[in-house]
Amino acid sequence: MPRTPQMIEKGLTLVDAINEALSQEMERDARVICLGEDVGLNGGVFRVTEGLQRRFGPDRCIDTPLSESGIMGTSIGLAMAGMRPIPEIQFEGFLGPAHDQLVNHAARFRNRTRGAITIPLTVRVPWGGGIHAPEFHSDSPEAIYTHSPGMKVVCPSTPSDAKGLLLAAIRDPDPVIFFEPKRVYRSFRERVPEEDYTIPIGKAKLLTEGTDLTVVTWGASVFQCLETLDSLPDDQSVELIDLRTINPFDADAVAASVEKTGRCVVVQEAPKTCSMASELSATIQERCFLHLLAPVQRVCGFDTIMPYAKLELEYLPDPKRIAEAIGHTLAY
């Protein structure tokens, strides 16, 4: 879809960038279809699929019945038949009914058929908290899907990463779950190349270089970390890594950084216990043991249910909590 004057002048939001990637890929590849609840005429509740039905017709941008298991299960069949379905689950909290199809079917077909049947689909899911949404609209379940072998898990934080990673996800031969941090859906604009490009799944991005400590994060927490870094004393030199892909994650980039700095803080919205932060901590101590100057620390959501809106900002890691952990780790 042609860019609006605002996009040309000011850049794209995360929503714009995902929309552009979808649109360009649907244009390029007739096998690609989008399906889900309210994705058609309404353009999705976040307007990520805005205009796609108008442009590509109701057979390629499809409003489905209200059934996540239905959306996911039929997407598997569509993929099996050679289509490239991009199902949307309206909010991560509604992955529940789709879970069986996703984890026990989409993710397992390749292995259980010894490669005879593969499921190249990309599930798009608005993810995470921070927008004062109702109950079941603010969770961060990336670890659950990382813990389920056979699926890739991507979580971009910026418009340009989102476009490149989404195009890579759609073209990936395996099922990919693409988490979209809704807190930054429209919070800023960025210059995004208009042409087709991909960003490899599994590669982290170094956001700032530093010498004393590594912060690893992803999704909207990237911006909480950037804000934290801005306010740190000058003598604290922190390296910030945006993981971008949760599974498979870029252990080499993380290890290289921690070997250099000797200290690491992992920041995530999800609850702490048995999370991606746990996995990163374990990997770092396995790979960087003799380089470590302090135990790896985790700044996470608490091990509670994501609270309703009145307390959600107390739940999510913020610059105060992140700075405190950085200070403690540097002082160790």
Binding site: P65, S67, D235, Q297, K310, A331
Partner: protein, 375 residues
């Protein structure tokens, strides 16, 4: 061999009070008394005012999200009146506030919920309702379980569960219907078919001619009623309740109504539906016909209307005061209700409000957390 009919069925549509306020006296017999109709109309006024004030609160940033109930009050009130307060149990979705209020739920609970406060779900004891169900369709199975327990314990109680037209597409609906009929539990399924599931019209949700006919596949009875007709809703629900209590089987009631507002305050329905359609349904608003009916019977007049509206305004403002007058929850509240007994790690997180560990364990070596390295 001749081909025989293995099974045949038909679905009835019940209307007693038409959109002009004209009552079918014969069908209305033994349903609602005059006092009940007046009472229900007064509640419609109260709850409509409350619904409108919730909308304005959201628009001025005092409530986060709110799904308006506007236009669906007869379905909620007629069915709520048919269930016995304090005895039967209501398992709702989120568009039948009026039924919950009838059964004793303090309206500020609903406001608190949508203001982002779990305390809105702390249902007072003795009020037989479950909290609003946000994940679509999930509540129906809980209703069947409740009813099952009543049956196992031989208690004369009944459950009603509410859901939308969209919810009938979820597997949970079909599983709930199947369990309910297989175990023949005292449960009534009440579908508020308001024609839309966010932007998806009923015709795109299912190829079935009616929602009610879905009952037949499960060995239940299906009936369609005019959901904006208090009498029809009351009659159908009373019959379904009595039938269920007597072990006579499950009824799926499809109440034909209309969502006069947006899906929620986060939605803009003009993007996907015609104003002409909305206007045609606005004329079928349950409040209009109920008032016309009461006036035709000499039970209502301008003066009563003015008084009831004053009452409604004061009622709604009182609920705003109650729900806004409560202090923000303590941060510790997110920890305190997760388990009967709080585990150690969670207690640590609660007491320190952090998840990183440095400085928490005295035996951990190398601590110098008070100073900053290099300073």
């Amino acid at each position: 061999m001749p081909v025989r009919t293995a099974f045949a069925a038909q679905i009835e549509h019940l209307q007693i009070l038409d959109e002009h306020g004209k009552l079918d006296e014969r069908l209305a017999q033994g349903t609602l008394t005059d006092e009940q109709v007046v009472f229900a109309y007064e509640r419609m006024i109260d709850y409509r005012k409350l619904d409108e004030i919730a909308f304005t609160l959201q628009r001025s940033g005092r409530m986060y999200t709110y799904p308006q109930n506007k236009g669906q009050e007869a379905a909620a009130l007629g069915s709520g009146l048919a269930m016995r307060k304090g005895v039967d149990f209501l398992v709702p979705c989120y568009r039948e506030n009026a039924a919950l209020f009838l059964h004793g739920l303090p309206p500020e609970c609903i406001f608190l919920h949508w203001m982002g406060d779990e305390r809105g779900n702390a249902i007072p004891s003795g009020v037989n309702v479950t909290p609003i169900a946000i994940p679509i369709g999930t509540q129906m199975l809980h209703a069947v379980g409740l009813a099952w327990a009543y049956k196992l314990r031989k208690e004369d109680r009944c459950v009603i569960t509410y859901f939308g037209d969209g919810a009938t597409s979820e597997g949970d609906f079909h599983e709930a219907m199947n369990f309910a009929t297989t175990f023949n539990v005292p449960c009534v399924f009440f579908c508020q078919n308001n024609q839309w599931a966010i932007s998806v019209p009923r015709e795109q949700q299912t190829a079935s001619e009616t929602v009610a006919q879905k009952a037949i596949a499960y060995g239940a009875r299906g009936i369609q009623v005019d959901g904006n007709d208090l009498f029809a809703v009351y009659k159908a629900t009373t019959e379904a309740r009595d039938r269920a209590r007597a072990g006579g089987g499950i009824t799926l009631i499809e109440a034909i109504t209309y969502r006069l507002g947006d899906h929620t305050t986060a939605d803009d329905a003009r993007r996907y539906r015609d104003t002409a359609e909305v206007e045609s349904w606005a004329a079928k608003d349950p409040m209009i016909r109920t008032r016309k009916y009461l006036e035709s019977k000499g039970l209502w007049d301008e003066q009563k209307q003015a008084a009831a509206e004053e009452h409604g305004k004061a009622f709604a403002q009182d609920i705003v005061r109650k729900s806004e007058g409560i202090a923000k929850p303590e941060v510790r509240e997110m920890f305190d209700h997760l388990y009967a007994e709080i585990p150690d790690e969670l207690r640590r997180q609660r007491d320190t409000l952090r998840t990183h560990s440095l400085g928490l364990y005295p035996e951990q070596s190398g601590l110098a957390v008070s100073g900053r390295r290099g300073s």
